[in-house]
């Protein structure tokens, strides 16, 4: 394989140079993988293009998503079609809507159907107890300083999924005999199994999947909610986070940094369509196809944080919600607009999705998120019956959402 750059053909330089090119293009290539690539080339024929290609693919690429980028860099690097230029990654930063009243209307959402954003109760009162006031204040009315304060409060939210039976047994006063521990214990008494020990079933928390709408209409809330996602991802290891815009982006990895600013910035950069439109149905479809149905959403608590303004087809959204509802343990929809007294789920997307939502809750303030944490942790005991009747048929007509956010609304929207 000819080496770009200097004339001397030193395979190590090709290896290192190519890896650098991959890193410049945004792939994560650990040092160990570089060594692996070198080893692989040593046992293959480095003068064959396919050998070099596959040596790199098996050692340097770890995720199918990276294959396309690998192919591009490979072609660029070894064909010298063009000079190697680092791919410029556009910096996206989260914008904060400072005066929320205006922002609500000039968002890029083209279908202002009914559901206007009259949620911003302009609380301009003097705050003597910042924490208390902040807990119940609508995120949309936050100042940057308040966002910073809210961050501390968010870090205190401990998200835990509802519990389920685990296959791993644990010691229990009664249950199946625990021969292993009985034998061990019997050695103390000279081989006589005096004490009979038992094991019983144990429980562990379910996986939680968070899908956060980051479209234009959600902008006043997105910043706070992404912080919430960060707190959730960092707090536990069985949480997955996605951003939902015109397309779906998995941001679990980006959010797993301990430093909230770093994490949120990384997530913001990863998501290419902040404050664009929303296609919740398509996003959900992608989630179901690529992650959910394969297992991520199976038996999990799935939380969708969105105002339900969807530019796509309501039928598609309903179909995908039905799929999700069939595999998830519980589907929770968090709508920041729901806090408004006169709110009714009139947005077409929201209406289409509601029949498949087990819990419909608010998410406009820290206090509301605290409630959400409680909802997520609760075992959905009434769930099984509801699933058969309410879910797919959507027959339970017109239950208006109550303030407590606990009932499972079922509007016949399909």
């Amino acid at each position: 394989m000819a080496e770009p750059g200097s004339g001397a053909s030193a395979p190590e330089r090709v290896v290192v140079g190519f890896v650098r090119a991959l890193r410049d293009a945004g792939l994560r290539v650990p040092v160990g993988a570089t060594l692996g690539f070198g080893e692989a080339l040593a046992v293959l024929d480095p003068s064959q293009r396919t050998d070099v290609y596959w040596a790199g693919r098996t050692t340097l690429v770890r995720r199918p998503e990276d294959v396309a980028e690998y192919d591009r860099v490979f072609a660029r690097y070894f064909d010298r079609i063009e000079r190697l230029v680092p791919v410029t990654t556009e910096q996206h930063t989260l914008r904060l809507a400072l005066d929320a009243e205006d922002d609500r209307d000039d968002g890029p959402d083209p279908d202002p159907d009914g559901d206007d954003g009259a949620d911003d109760t302009p609380t301009l009162s003097v705050r003597w107890s910042p924490v208390e006031v902040l807990r119940t204040r609508d995120f949309a009315t936050y100042s940057p300083e308040e966002h910073a304060e809210a961050r501390r409060l968010m870090a205190d939210l401990h998200l835990a999924g509802a519990r389920r039976r685990s296959r791993r047994p644990r010691p229990a006063p009664r249950g199946r005999p625990d021969v292993r521990r009985t034998v061990r214990r019997s050695l103390r008494s000279g081989g006589e199994p005096v004490e009979r020990l038992h094991v019983g079933p144990s429980e562990r928390p379910r996986r939680i999947v968070l899908l956060c709408d980051v479209s234009g209409s959600m902008e006043p809330y997105a910043r706070a909610l992404v912080r919430f996602l960060h707190a959730a991802v960092v707090g536990r290891n069985r949480v997955e986070a996605f951003a939902l815009g015109t397309r779906l982006t998995r941001i679990t990895r980006e959010l797993s940094s301990r430093d909230p600013d770093v994490a949120v910035a990384a997530a913001a950069q990863r998501v290419a369509d902040w404050s664009g439109g929303t296609r919740i149905g398509e996003g959900l479809r992608e989630f179901n196809d690529r992650w959910g149905v394969r297992g991520m959403a199976r038996g999990a608590v799935v939380v969708i944080l969105s105002d339900g303004w969807d530019r796509g087809e309501p039928a598609l959204l309903a179909e995908q919600m039905a799929r999700l509802h069939r595999i998830a343990y519980r589907v929770v929809w968090v709508n920041p607009l729901k806090a408004t007294p006169e709110y009714a789920p009139l947005a077409r997307g929201m209406a289409a999705a509601l029949p498949f939502v087990d819990e419909f809750v608010e998410g406009h303030s820290i206090a509301a998120l605290e409630d959400l944490v409680a909802v997520i942790a609760r075992d959905g005991d009434g769930r099984r019956t509801g699933r058969q009747t309410g879910g797919r048929t959507g027959a339970r007509a017109g239950v208006p959402p109550r303030e407590d956010g606990r009932e499972r609304t079922g509007e016949g929207a399909r």
């Binding site: 650990p30 160990g32 993988a33 692996g36 080893e39 692989a40 046992v43 293959l44 396919t50 050998d51 596959w54 040596a55 693919r57 098996t58 050692t59 690429v61 770890r62 995720r63 199918p64 294959v67 685990s166 296959r167 791993r168 021969v179 292993r180 009985t182 034998v183 019997s186 050695l187 000279g190 081989g191 006589e192 199994p193 290891n237 997955e240 990895r253 179901n288 196809d289 992650w291 149905v293 394969r294 297992g295 991520m296 199976r298 179909e319 799929r323």
Partner: protein
């Protein structure tokens, strides 16, 4: 490398150049191979074929949530230990703890079997659906895969003389930990293209007439181009060809395709979608390839 592909083909596995290279490297560099891909593209099959080819014992560890050391590595045979204790007691002899924890009371689970293999060829260890196991187990697996040794506190360390050939598969229900990925070579298995799928059919179901096999491969190719929840995998293609052969069909027509659609498409929505789009189109595409 061509050798690898040829050897796999001898054992009825048709690999493309990428997979053949990955397997070759895994064998030569003695590194574990992590395979990902859609369900039904033949990930598990790779390990089985490797075992048939190398003559090593196939040791399969099916992962699931909550799998632990007792099920994956070793366990003591407690009931036999108890019996032994009773016998020792009856004969009035002293209870010897060392005798109680000797190899004859050791139940060897897959990972220990793979490391302490006794055969002439190194065993092939298949760690299936590693994404289903929990993180703690993954960390444990990592430890074993880095030095191919298992320590049983009562007995000492078992170390593989020749490292086993290790194949891990994952369905990507969650990301496998980076540390584990770093240990492994990685290959994403794609759905095969028409020619390779046809070769697979010839190898796996040789009794299916050539013309029918071509049509089935063509029809599956057309189905995969549709927007389905679950595009058919190779396993489904083989099932379909076999079903048609059992029905004594020599070519594919719309009615038969309709009647046997359940062997390829396992979602009601997918079947409806294909029927709505028209099975005639699929059959036509198949005929074009036939």
């Amino acid at each position: 490398m061509a050798e690898v592909a040829a050897a796999l083909a001898d054992h009825d596995y048709v690999a493309d150049v990428g997979l053949a290279t990955a397997i070759f490297l895994a064998l030569r560099l003695q590194r574990p191979l992590l395979l990902e891909g859609e369900a039904g593209v033949g990930k598990t099959e790779v390990a089985k074929v490797l075992a048939r080819w190398t003559g090593g014992e196939l040791v399969r560890l099916q992962c699931y949530e909550g799998i632990d050391v007792a099920q994956a590595v070793y366990e003591w045979d407690y009931s036999r230990q108890l019996l032994h204790l009773r016998a020792a007691e009856a004969s009035g002899g002293p209870v010897d703890e060392d005798a109680l924890y000797s190899e004859r009371f050791l139940v060897r689970r897959p990972l220990l079997r793979a490391v302490a293999g006794t055969g002439t060829a190194p065993p092939v260890l298949l760690v299936d659906e590693v994404d289903r196991a929990d993180d703690e187990f993954e960390a444990f697996l990592l430890e074993i895969l880095s030095d191919y040794a298992v320590t049983v506190p009562e007995l000492g360390t078992f170390r593989a003389e020749v490292p086993p050939v290790v194949v891990l598969t994952s369905n990507r229900t969650r990301d496998v930990h980076d540390a584990l990925k770093r240990r492994c070579l990685y290959h994403w298995i794609e759905h095969p293209d028409f020619e390779r799928e046809l070769a697979i059919l010839r190898a796996r179901v040789p009794h299916v007439p050539e013309a029918l096999a071509r049509e089935v491969a063509g029809a599956v190719e057309a189905l995969r181009a549709l927007d389905l929840y679950k595009p058919p995998g190779v396993a489904e293609t083989i099932d379909w060809a076999e079903a048609l052969a059992v029905l004594d069909r020599t070519s594919l027509d719309a009615d038969t395709a309709d009647a046997t659609l359940g062997t390829v498409l396992k979602y009601r929505e997918d079947q409806e979608r294909v029927r709505a789009a028209g099975l005639a189109g699929v059959v036509e595409a198949a005929r074009a390839r036939g």
